[in-house]
């Protein structure tokens, strides 16, 4: 041990093993069991960084997650920003530097794994301090399924930072024994280094486990570094402890100023003296054990400054015996120092007035302004809080049905009380779920003065801030939120500006918005606001607690959902073929669809022109398997479809196919597709790829909530079928070759009919439908056979130059024929009539979804936007989709009247030029007119045309 501030006989670090680490470029040593903060303090390093706004030197205020100051950037083994030095476990080779506010994310991908695990239990206990251990032990011995999570590597919580005895032995021995017993229970899981950071509805608690962080470069690559636990608990006990809060006084932010309980923790958990000469400033009894234990360990306590006039006799005596100067009725008004604190200014304080000041030299100033129960999780779970005037803190008002607090989290501050409260909370929790908690004999505590905290002694004095002795300066040197560099004067400026809510003050001042969530500043702010406004802090309350309680890395939240697992990639049965043949893919929802198949050296434009030409002049095929398919069966199937489609479906004959449009109740197009009548009581409809799930849900909603009497069942069969459109003038020849038993003649197998046939040896359903205007067949086979049939079609079509095509060519072909794509040419404000499809809206049916809206005046306006074609005057210009359309060749002063926008735009092989579809106000009336599309600072003249630009007579569909 060569750390100058390490003391023998204290702490739980392993003194026989030395770890070397680097901080701000200098090398130091520490031991396993240290945090970065304790190791720095052991080396006498207090200054961690300068503050973000005022550049003031800052040190270590606390010993845990409540630390507002000591933010560090880890540089090695892997860069990670904004960690608190008080929660970073020391490891060999750690390289860190102090941070002034923000840090730096790595520019390399994080090589570590992160994962998630779901877990379930009867009782979740958060915190392995005395209350949490007593609760867990009680539940475990009662046979319940229990999970105990604790943020520290060792059990004991606050016991680690004290010299308490249980059954005559160090309390941490008892904690170790409990953990050992829990380890023998099959239904008990103890998670160390695990922080519950969010408590959500229905007993869902999220916790972050740091699994290999403490191993540094030695962390095994195959084990996740951090794990998010998603714990579903029937009952939860929050034994989350309490956080000490400081008092605001002038220059209360220097390195060497530390919370009294934290200093006690550095001594007892880490064997570290945070200074040589200390002054203790307190408003309550809890700082006395810190003062006495530190004095015992070798710190010269120059003075204990107690804001209270009345100090319990046993503390007076204990101070006297050790020669400690006790100044009751005094406060610390300010500090001096260059960098670290070198002097505390002490003055008498009575009736709100300060007496004369005297300086006391010190290199350590310990502060205790009382304790705030750690109620963040309880509050997240919607537990109500009430203000406890004696403790000067917000405590749980009453337990919830499934959530209760235990120990100091609930405002119980004695060790014996915490143990009993924990056991009691577990029994109540088990009773609430119909179980019985066995009585557990709890260890005996020792009621010695030196071990009596808070409630057994004299009442605390609630003191938020000490008046500033500086003339005319109101809190301009009194820090509230050290991380945000926010001052008492900032709070007063907020109330002076008229803000009365602590929520508003929080946003105005940024207090409580940093990584520490205002653990040391939040309640203090409420207190200062209450004083400034002259209102009761009990009425004012605190700001709302929100998850996460501690900072959680996005990498941990993402877990394994990254790279190829980021979002499910859905593929069709034909996908391996597409990959093997060089397709480029387009994402359509979660689907990967072949976009086009470039030949060697071919551009996308060249490939699409080639694919389109094949479909118009020869034969081509594509993978249409992603189309949604819904089987509709039952005696009332026709009735349901008549009510949901705008046109009549019930009259469709078995063996025939009809195109249909579905509208919302507003009369706007929701989806379109084809409907085939499979049998008298069975239809099969198709949806657009992206709407498959939505349409099924839409249909189920109407069926289940509006027309439950209809005898119809809906079943998704999307993925049962591989669907292959075979397109082009030679498609009939190809089909004839692979389906020798099928009469493919136009009369025997007319447009908009289907046949069951054997295709390439497989039982298939072949539909004569066309999304291109060409003679076309759609071949459906069970997906297992998809590749085999696809390859058979390719082989049979080889002589005809059969060409696979992708979604881009599909779009060109359908746009040339003005077949709209729902969601591209429509946007939820487009009616079938706007698309020029009045023919698909039945005038005869008594009712269907959307019908009523077609009679609205708005839906009947002549100047609605309608789908039209656009031909740019320069036939090489490809209009961008989404481009606006205006009436004049010059762009007028804003606001520019917009007539509509381009919805689809392509280069056409068949037309030998570019073209577009657009929604244009009064578009039908404008056919033949010239309009303009602003593009790159000029306007492009375009001619408005009928939307169908190719084969207007429809002569090609029969081959």
């Amino acid at each position: 041990m060569n750390n100058p501030f390490r003391v023998r006989g204290h702490g739980h670090v392993d003194p026989d093993t030395t770890l070397s680490f680097t901080f701000d470029g200098r090398t130091y040593t520490g031991h396993p069991g240290d945090t970065l903060a304790s190791a720095l303090l052991a080396n006498g390093v207090h200054h961690v960084a300068d503050s973000i706004k005022y550049g003031r030197p800052r040190g270590v205020l606390a010993a845990g997650a409540e630390e507002p100051n000591a933010l560090v950037q880890i540089e090695a083994p892997f860069p990670e920003p904004m960690l608190t030095a008080t929660t970073v476990e020391l490891y060999e080779g750690l390289v860190a530097r102090g941070l002034s506010g923000q840090g730096r994310l790595s520019d390399r991908p994080d090589p570590a794994r992160y994962d998630t695990l779901h877990a379930h239990c009867d009782l979740l206990v958060v915190g392995a301090g005395p209350a949490g251990l007593a609760a867990t032990l009680t539940a475990a011995r009662s046979g319940a399924r229990v999970i105990l999570v604790d943020e520290l590597p060792q059990p004991g919580g606050s016991l680690l930072g004290s010299q308490e005895l249980l059954d005559g032995a160090p309390a941490t021995t008892w904690a170790g024994d409990v953990i050992a017993e829990l380890g023998t229970c099959a239904d008990v899981q103890v998670l160390r280094r695990t922080t519950a950071f969010g408590h959500y509805d229905d007993g869902l608690v999220l916790a972050l486990e740091k699994r290999t962080d403490h191993l540094g470069a030695a962390a095994p690559a195959h084990v996740s570094r951090q794990r998010i636990w998603r714990i579903r608990a029937r009952q939860v006990v929050h034994a989350t402890g309490a956080h000490e809060r400081p008092v605001a006084f002038d220059d209360n932010d220097r390195p060497g100023i530390m919370l009294a309980g934290s200093a006690r923790t550095y001594l007892n958990r880490f064997g570290v003296l945070p200074g040589r000469r200390g002054v203790v400033f307190t408003t309550n009894d809890s700082a006395y054990p810190a003062a006495l234990e530190l004095a015992e360990a070798g710190v010269r306590i120059a003075a204990v400054v107690d804001a209270r006039e009345e100090v319990p006799e046993h503390w007076r005596t204990a101070c006297e015996e050790r020669g400690i100067d006790l100044r009751a009725g005094h406060v610390v008004t300010g500090t001096s120092g260059t960098g670290r604190v070198s002097r505390a200014h002490v003055a008498a304080f009575a009736q709100g007035r300060l007496g004369d000041r005297r300086g006391v030299d010190c290199d350590l100033l310990l502060v205790s302004g009382g304790w705030n129960p750690a109620v963040a999780l309880f509050s997240q779970a919607r537990g109500a809080l009430r203000y406890d005037a004696e403790a000067g803190a917000f405590v749980p008002a009453q337990p919830l049905d499934t959530v209760r607090t235990a120990g100091s989290a609930g405002g119980t501050f004695t060790l014996s009380g915490c143990l009993a409260d924990g056991a009691d909370a577990a029994r109540r929790a088990l009773a609430a779920i119909g179980g019985t908690g066995r009585a557990v004999s709890l260890p005996a505590t020792v009621p010695l003065p030196a071990t009596v905290p808070l409630s057994d002694g004299a009442p605390a004095q609630v003191l938020w801030r000490v008046p500033s002795p500086r003339d005319g300066q109101d809190g301009t040197h009194q820090f509230v939120d050290l991380q945000r560099d926010a001052l008492v004067s900032d709070v007063l400026r907020a109330t002076g500006a008229g803000l009365r809510s602590v929520e508003h003050v929080k946003r105005y001042t940024t207090i409580g918005t940093a990584h520490d969530q205002g653990r040391t500043s939040g309640v203090m702010t409420s207190g200062i606001v209450a004083e400034a406004l002259g209102v009761d802090i009990a009425d004012l309350g605190t700001t709302r607690f929100r998850p996460p309680v501690v900072p959680v890395a996005f990498a941990a939240l993402a877990g394994r959902n990254r790279g190829e697992l980021f979002d499910p990639v859905r593929v069709t049965a034909l996908h391996p073929w597409h990959v093997e043949h060089g397709a480029l893919f387009e994402n359509v929802g979660q689907w990967k669809r072949p976009w086009y198949y470039p030949g060697a050296g071919e551009t996308m434009e060249e490939a699409v022109l080639r694919e389109s030409r094949a479909a118009r002049t020869g034969v081509a095929l594509m993978d249409g398997s992603t189309l949604g398919k819904i089987d509709v069966q039952g005696p009332d199937a026709g009735v349901l479809l008549d009510r949901l489609y705008t046109n009549v479906m019930s009259t469709l004959e078995v063996g025939r196919i009809r195109y249909g449009v579905m509208c919302g109740v507003d009369g706007m197009v929701v989806d379109d597709g084809t409907v085939i009548r499979v049998a008298e009581q069975e239809f099969l409809l198709t949806t657009t790829t992206g709407n498959a799930a939505k349409v099924l849900e839409w249909m189920e909603e109407w069926l289940q909530t509006e027309w439950p009497g209809l005898r119809v069942h809906l079943t998704s069969v999307t993925e049962h079928w591989a669907t292959i459109p075979l397109v082009g003038p030679r498609s009939r020849d190809v089909l004839a070759l692979v389906a020798p038993g099928l009469d493919v003649g136009n009369d025997a197998f007319p447009f908009m009919s289907w046949r069951d046939a054997t295709v390439a040896g497989v039982a298939a359903r072949v539909c004569r439908i066309s999304f291109s205007g060409e003679l076309a067949y759609e071949i459906n086979v069970p997906a297992w056979y998809g590749i085999g049939v696809w390859e058979a079609l390719l082989a049979a079509g080889d002589a005809f130059g059969i060409t696979p095509y992708g979604t881009e060519t599909m779009h060109v072909l359908r746009a040339e024929k003005a077949y709209p794509v729902i969601g591209q040419d429509t946007d939820g404000t487009v009616t079938p009539q706007d698309l020029g499809m009045s023919w698909v809206v039945s005038g005869k049916k008594p009712d269907f979804v959307g019908k009523r809206s077609f009679t609205r005046a708005e839906n009947r306006r002549d100047d609605r936007k309608r789908l039209v074609g656009l031909l740019p005057a320069d036939e090489r210009v490809l209009l961008p989709e989404g481009a606006q359309i205006i009436a004049t060749s010059g762009i007028p002063e804003p606001p520019v009247p917009m007539l509509g926008h381009v919805t689809s735009s392509y280069r056409s092989a068949a037309l030998g030029r570019t073209f577009a579809l657009a929604l244009v106000r009064s578009g039908t009336e404008r056919i033949g007119d010239t309009l303009y599309v602003p593009l790159d600072g000029r306007t492009v003249p375009v001619t408005v045309t009928d939307p169908v630009l190719f084969d207007q007579e429809g002569t090609r569909r029969d081959g």
């Binding site: 394994r560 697992l565 499910p568 593929v571 069966q633 999307t718 049962h720 069970p782 297992w784 056979y785």
Partner: protein, 195 residues
């Protein structure tokens, strides 16, 4: 031109080698080409009884599967079951069941290629699934025969508990999600591969 019946490919046919190399403690096998039919019927109604008679099974209640027979029956909704039978039975079962229902109201739909079935077994299965499945697989909560439609990571699945404490399960996954699930399972096993 002569036409031969082409080969079939199951959704995970390309994954067999990788799935065979999982660590000890978890075994994953695809059961390809099972016949699968969706049955929709009013529970306890005449049509449901006709189906039960035809198959000689009792349609299981909520969140349960009847796995003892040749045709296994998985509850998938309040009036919905998935019938799972060996390869090659779909052509025969659909007309037989429809005939049994007769004029009653129940529907049978062939969805055989809609999903593929994964059989997982081994002591690590529960831990692997817990990485992405929110269901409590404790034997007291989900005993053998439990059948739950839920999510595994981001993929919809139907999970059937076949062995105590999920030492053996079936996962039925939609064909388009099968490769995602396979990739997810392989990755989930990383932790158990050792250093």
């Amino acid at each position: 031109m002569t036409v031969e019946t082409p080969a079939r490919f199951s959704p995970l046919s390309a994954w067999q080698d990788r799935l065979a190399r999982l660590p000890a403690g978890v075994r994953v096998r695809e059961l390809p080409f099972l016949s699968q039919l969706t049955l929709r019927a009013e529970p306890g109604g005449a049509a449901a009884k006709a189906v039960e008679g035809c198959l000689d099974v009792t349609l299981p209640g909520p969140s349960r599967a009847e796995m003892s027979g040749d045709v296994k029956v998985l509850w998938t909704g309040p009036d919905e079951w998935l019938l799972v039978a060996p390869d090659g039975r779909r052509e025969e079962l659909v007309p037989r069941l429809r005939a049994a229902v007769g004029d009653g109201f129940a529907t049978v739909t062939d969805v055989s290629a809609q999903r593929t079935t994964l059989a997982l077994s081994g002591p690590l299965v529960r831990a692997v699934l817990a990485q992405g499945c929110a269901i409590d697989l404790d034997r007291r909560v989900t005993p053998v025969g439990s059948c739950l439609t839920t999510l595994l990571a981001q993929a919809p699945i139907t999970l059937v508990v076949r062995g105590e404490a999920a030492s053996s399960v079936w996962l039925l996954v939609r064909s388009s999600f099968a490769s995602y699930v396979a990739a997810w399972l392989l990755d989930a096993c990383t932790e158990y591969r050792g250093g």
